[in-house]
Symmetry: C2
Subunit: 371 residues, 2 copies
């Protein structure tokens, strides 16, 4: 695209995360989508998941996304999108409808394969908390490559297709140690989690090359193939300089996470941090286009101080943060906000105060963000 | 209120209408909420209805409604709101949450009792299509009065309570003959529908007086008690002049329905028609405050011609229609648009083209409406 990507993720629609739509997990012991599908009676599960999908994102949302000034939507999809992995229920019809909406309202779609069987990161959003063994199962690696190929075949001629991201957030070794996903996302089945570990760069390079080779054969050259950086933006110079790719992009995710260090939870530090990332993005952009595929305004400063701030102070803080963020992302090819909307209720569950900043539809309505 | 009511209905949230959220009726033979609850397995029904309620309207919608400039929401609620009419599932917790959202974002709430057992109008939105026998069942009239009293008791001290509308759209004799509801909304069970007929004005006057007497005892004087006009705005002069009421309001509904008469389906005719209603509203306002509790921009001219109109032409048409409508409603105390949002898909089901005008959230996003 000539202009920068001003994008938004349709999170919590076809891939669930309990913290984003907590009431969807009512009446179950489940904390992730894997167990939601396994814990529930199949008929009740079908009603829950299909009602959610039909209600959470509709044509009207595409109208509003376009009207807000966004130009691309990134749609996280699960590995079971084609409905061939029981007890999960497929959602390819939903994606078909979304492409029709995107075309009608002048938006492009980046399909983002967000989960893999046995997970690529052990996060709740990888589908199953605390488990990360996908890369150890060659048949599941092949399954993922096949899902990607089927998605490419299905939408290759659709004018609304921006591209396909081959896998969201594979967790690489250094970040595995820092994030410690099995501590944050405790496995429910220790036996299933046994043997979990990070995705090595060696594996990831091979997987990306293989995915590229298969998709590039199918996709016209104007469709972009996107690789996530595995949370290590500076680890890709050799990969891209040693190989020849046509129309690829590196996706990097940046949230304001500083483990509540008091001297870091303020606007000055956030801006300095964003500026630093912008410099990295600029550098990497010399050998591969870079998009910030996930970020948001949420930060601990507001979460902790909002009840004592005026509305104007909150708005001004977010406006500054938005500007500094977008400046950084525009050192590359642009951004996708995480996320378009979520059902978090800061009024009836006040421990969620501040988390509404993850919801760009509310951020826009409140004047916190201007696309 | 000092300023005019600039209101919006939260239709299709706690009271369902199949045409507004058609996919909610997938996998069932049901065409209304009565049969949805009776046709489905209870566990599956619970998942469907609770997922819909938790997803369709959330805190974020109250943020956006306030940001758009509305000042009151009218919330249609079913007679089974307290959960005492199996197999229906109550939704008083949802209404509690809505009051908390309204307070947080500076909105008022008009509670609108939208259905009665055996229905007051035989419409799909009365709960059971083709049946209208509520007024013939004294114990159900008493049940409704009791539900109203319980609602009043629950919210009487809530600063967000604007008032309570005692019953939506009771269908009076003349309009029964014109609308012919059993033709439009065919009864599924002929035996149950047997004996259905309109609500007489004599009954309605008595019912409104009784409801007023009970609610006025409970509600502080700043809370408004609202009566629907039974689709006959000019039939109420005697009622209000013969009696003394404290803080009541008459609700009148106006849609642009002209049975597709070609010479009537144009902007000039719509404006003349609205002007005429405005004159009536002005007249009736001399003896009772009048609010237009339901109306919308939908019209056959756009539904039939939109594919051949430019976006600018459509926008300009709707802008003129919006202005003429609000001018008419402001001859009284203001309006509530029907409705805030609906899930109709004009892209994937093109026979619905034009029906997106029922959705004021889309109308605002597209520049068709400016509150």
């Amino acid at each position: 695209m000539e202009e920068k990507i001003k994008g938004v993720n349709l999170g919590a629609w076809l891939v669930l995360e309990k913290w984003m739509t907590p009431r969807l997990f009512d009446r179950t012991p489940s904390t992730d989508e894997y167990y939601l599908a396994h814990d529930m009676d199949p008929a009740a599960y079908e009603e829950k998941i299909k009602t959610h999908r039909a209600t959470f994102i509709t044509e009207g949302d595409f109208v509003k996304i376009a009207a807000a000034g966004f130009n691309v939507v990134r749609i996280p999809v699960p590995h079971f999108i084609f409905g061939d992995r029981e007890p999960f229920i497929g959602c390819i019809d939903e994606l078909d409808r979304a492409f029709n909406w995107a075309r009608a309202y002048g938006l492009k779609v980046l399909i983002d394969l967000h989960t893999a069987p046995y997970s690529q990161n052990a996060f709740d959003n990888g589908g199953i908390s605390g488990v990360c063994k996908w890369a150890q199962h060659p048949e599941e690696v092949e399954f993922v490559l096949d899902v990607l190929t089927r998605l490419a075949e299905r939408y290759k001629d659709d004018s609304a297709l921006f591209g396909i991201e081959v896998l969201n957030e594979p967790l690489t070794p250094e970040m595995w140690d820092i994030i410690d996903p099995q501590d944050q996302f405790e496995p429910r089945d220790q036996e299933l989690a046994e043997g979990s570990g990070p995705i090595s760069f060696a594996f990831l390079y091979d997987f990306y090359q293989e995915a590229y080779d298969r998709l590039r054969k199918v996709l016209p050259s104007d469709k972009t193939i996107v690789f996530h950086d595995g949370f290590d933006l500076m680890a890709w110079e050799g990969f891209f300089k040693d190989r020849t790719f046509d129309n690829v992009m590196l996706d990097t995710h940046h949230y304001l996470v500083f483990n509540n260090e008091p001297d870091q939870e303020n606007l000055e530090h956030y801006k300095a941090h964003l500026n630093q990332i912008g410099t990295q993005i600029e550098k990497v952009s010399q050998y591969v286009p870079v998009v910030t595929g996930e970020w948001c305004l949420f930060n601990q400063h507001i979460a902790q101080n909002q009840p004592n701030m005026t509305d104007d102070e909150v708005t001004s803080f977010y406006n500054e943060l938005w500007g500094a963020s977008v400046d950084a992302w525009n050192k590359g090819d642009g951004y996708f906000y995480w996320t378009y909307k979520l059902s978090i209720d800061t009024v009836n569950t006040p421990d969620r105060i501040g988390k509404d900043a993850w919801d760009v539809s509310r951020a826009i309505a409140r004047g916190w963000a201007q696309v």
